[in-house]
Symmetry: C2
Subunit: 228 residues, 2 copies
């Protein structure tokens, strides 16, 4: 089952592959990420795997238990609240900045992004749709030209994906909301205050659509999840 593709597979690349798998809900919270397993699946040595797992741990996507291995993180209710608290501080103001700076070309790119998201949803690929809807938020930080804040939001988006896996209730309705469409309208009009307000309420909507009482979802086999 070793990977014989042309690219040499560096630690960064492996990190991205695992991050994407987690973000798209192919790897469920709690799944054990054994070093030998991953090493064999991707045809690399444990050295590379350990570096990637350490990076994932820094992003809080993976929990490293000493002498016991790596597990896909399972954010607590407390942690879930904190993540959205942090997003509430960072994202609305960033949307404001983005609205002032955005170019027509970037508006078109954002729109294309949303179209792809709707396409994935229509194709039944919920994981992909969730990933793309997260990227939308990251794109906004990039448009605001705030790399530091972008890095924070990137982490918060990934962790939000874990939170959604654990606490989301009405999955079907996930991206039915047209919050992103409304945001694009505000961006196109360079209406900073409106973009800020829309983002603020969008995040509030997200939190209230979670059931922060009991966890769902169960760990799944690693090999099955990473079928290449």
């Amino acid at each position: 089952m070793t990977d014989l593709s042309s690219t040499p597979m560096t630690a960064d690349l492996l990190f991205e592959k695992l991050e994407l798998a987690i973000h798209e809900h192919r790897l469920a919270p709690g799944t054990k990420l054994g070093e030998d397993d991953i090493a064999e699946v991707y045809g690399v040595s444990r050295t590379i795997v350990r570096a990637a797992l350490q990076s994932l741990a820094h992003q809080r996507l993976v929990e490293l238990k000493r002498n016991r291995g790596a597990y896909v993180a399972q954010p607590s209710v407390q942690e879930a609240r904190e993540v959205f608290e942090a997003r509430a501080l960072l994202e609305p103001r960033t949307a404001y900045s983005a609205a002032l700076r955005i170019t027509d070309n970037q508006v078109a790119q954002l729109q294309a992004h949303i179209d792809a998201e709707h396409g994935a949803l229509h194709a039944g690929d919920h994981g992909r749709a969730l990933y793309l809807s997260g990227q939308f938020h990251i794109d906004i930080a990039r448009i605001a030209d705030q790399h530091t804040i972008e890095a924070f939001i990137t982490q918060l988006i990934s962790r939000s994906s874990l939170i959604i896996a654990l606490y989301w209730q009405r999955r079907a309705a996930i991206c039915e909301s047209h919050a992103h469409d409304a945001l694009i309208t505000a961006f196109a009009a360079h209406d900073g205050p409106r973009a800020e307000e829309l983002m603020k309420s969008h995040l509030l909507d997200l939190v209230t659509s979670l059931d922060l009482r009991n966890k769902t979802s169960a760990p799944v086999s690693l090999r099955a999840a990473l079928s290449l």
Copy 2:
């Protein structure tokens, strides 16, 4: 020169030692952190050193250049602005929350913290004083009971220390300002809005006291800086 202390020196511990050295300006921006050098100084293998350097890179305190080694980061002017932009979004609101939650005991702890800072300054240990003044900001996030935001602020404080090393002009006046004292007064009175406003202007003061045009400071020898 190998370290023969009792503790086994894990990667996390080495990370903390290097982080502190950078934060206290014993390691200047641009200093090369050779793996063999550090390994010998602390009496560990390169495996441990590499893990610690990777963690430092994730915190943006160290820049890893492929095949060329690790260097203490040298934030650009653009990056400096971004760091304080992020702090402006996170810290004032966090100070607000902290003011509402703080206990009398915690007020006393904060006061003790400031006293230690003044003590270090009086003793001429500017590095230590700078470190303690950074910890003050982190303590506030801890009091607000926001671990996620605390982690972000911790990173931003460390990076601010690098920025100060590169762009600070009137070093002597660094902590002469009594901004922290004023904040404590607001905390003790549980005055959220005032704490938020004070933090906001404190951060503005910090930015305006930087000269974001030309860099100062030069790399220094690793061995000399890490004299244990």
